[in-house]
Amino acid sequence: MTSAISIERLEVVFDRFRALKGVSLDVKEGESYGLVGESGSGKSTLLRAIAGLAPAASGTIAVNGKTLGRGRDKAFYRDVQMVFQDPYGSLHPRQTVDRLLQEPLAIHGIADGEKRIERALDEVGLGNGFRFRYAHQLSGGQRQRVAIARALILEPSILLLDEPTSALDASVQAEVLNLLEEVRRRRKLTFLMVSHDLAIITHMCERLMVMQNGEAVENLTASQLIGHRVEKDYTRNLLRASEGFVRG
């Protein structure tokens, strides 16, 4: 099986702060891969570096076998799309859902917009009634569905998911996670998903990487994590913390 995303010794430096310290990663085609860690561990920076939103100081990033340079061309963004954490901040407040979904189509010069928008909204379970609403007329879960529709409308093969449900209520989170799993199965997508929640990562991903302070702590399969077969104390602490409060 070929690699969808292959990263070697990636360094990202902001001023003098090393946000990523030589991280390597290999995500297979069609796989769902998770990144876990606390805030400041570099997990989001890694996603952003792939999308071209954070500067790589050294190391290489290859997507679908093609090594990326500094810039990203249009073809890259057709293939790789991102869903952000905050559905309140990632949708334009003065654009209707229709306008939001047309933007990527216009940029890439895709003609059958009408049909694609209908299909994308349908796919995320929103239907045509939502097409001419503004973001503020939608609930958090509906907004995140629009963000997912916007990512899917270009028919990418890779989705980068940055804490896609952490701003949502638990019941809405379940709906969005189910939706993501469904579109992945239907479209055979590759997921690279960031979360601070181990339970979500084990639910969604086959393999995962635990990160801390810009470094990879450990690479695990979901079943290793579920069986508590972990090597590092840091991962063990995360596991313990995810079990809730214990009076000591």
Binding site: A170, S171, Q173, H203, M204, I226, A241, S242, G244
Partner: protein
């Protein structure tokens, strides 16, 4: 157990352009010196319940209740002056995000001292000593250094500890914690909860813990109230959460992914209109 807080048929109503919105619709409960959790999703009225008790409801909203009394004091009949004397002194509140709830242009130490000197006649030197002792009590390793720092110079976990220190310094009898750990990392979350737990137990305070996280609340509190659409749908002992009766409570418990329980797709909440009725 002596009752600290008595709430009967509490209602909070907001006037809007399209009519009245009832955020809290007839909530009743009482609190002793215990840990009570209030759980619900966004919009369930859990925070407005806490704010109404604290007296922080926005002025345009209307509050009514058959009874809203704290230690025999009728909170609805109390003058603003009386409520100010209670607030911070006998009833304290911890808010969600220390980034927004601490004053950004005042050092942490000065904020704690300010709280103390508002409620007690103490000298500056003594206030400083007590603030330092309080910072130590919330397990801040170098209280002298942190005393002079501004909120932007500390981490989220440290900020929340400072917030707890500020709220506890006047020795309140009741504390309302509104999502005190939601903005923190999981591991830091447990540290902060541990500190809160110890201090509440040591001082025999009554605690109202407001959160959206049913599982976290049940591991921390003695009793849990579940709210939906402004109403209490279920009250139960935290230890008996697994035997919850109401479909909403059970749905909330079920829909979260859990390590070691494979369920694809996750069960989702099937909201029934009669829950809100």
């Amino acid at each position: 157990m002596s009752t600290l807080l008595d709430v009967e048929d509490l209602r909070v109503t907001f006037p809007t352009r399209t009519g009245l919105i009832e955020a809290v619709r007839g909530v009743s409960f009482s609190l002793g010196r215990e840990r009570l959790g209030i759980v619900g999703e966004s919009g369930s009225g859990k925070s407005q319940t806490g704010r109404a008790i604290m007296g922080l409801t926005p002025p345009q909203a209307r509050i009514s209740a058959d009874k809203l009394s704290f230690d025999g004091i009728d909170l609805l009949a109390a003058s603003p002056r009386e409520r100010r004397a209670l607030r911070g002194k006998r009833i304290a509140m911890i808010l969600q995000d220390p980034k927004y709830s601490l004053d950004p242009v005042m050092s942490i130490g000065r904020q704690i001292v300010e709280t103390l000197r508002t409620h007690e006649k103490v000298s500056k030197a003594e206030a400083r000593e007590r603030a330092l002792a309080m910072l130590e009590a919330v397990q801040i390793r170098d209280p002298r250094r942190v005393f002079d720092l501004h909120p932007h110079e500390v981490s989220g976990g440290m900020g929340q500890r400072a917030m707890i220190a500020m709220m506890l310094i006047a020795g309140p009898e009741m504390m309302i914690a509104d999502e005190p750990t939601s903005a923190l990392d999981v591991t830091v979350q447990l540290d902060v909860l541990g500190i809160l737990d110890r201090l509440v137990a040591e001082r025999g305070m009554g605690l109202i813990f407001i959160s959206h996280d049913l599982r976290l609340v049940s591991s921390f509190c003695d009793r849990v109230i579940v709210m939906y659409a402004g109403k209490v749908v279920e009250q139960l002992k935290a230890s008996e959460l697994s035997q919850a009766q109401h479909p909403y409570t059970r749905g909330l418990l079920n829909c979260m992914p859990r390590i070691g329980f494979e369920r694809h797709p996750l069960p989702v909440l099937d909201r029934k209109p009669e829950w809100a009725a």
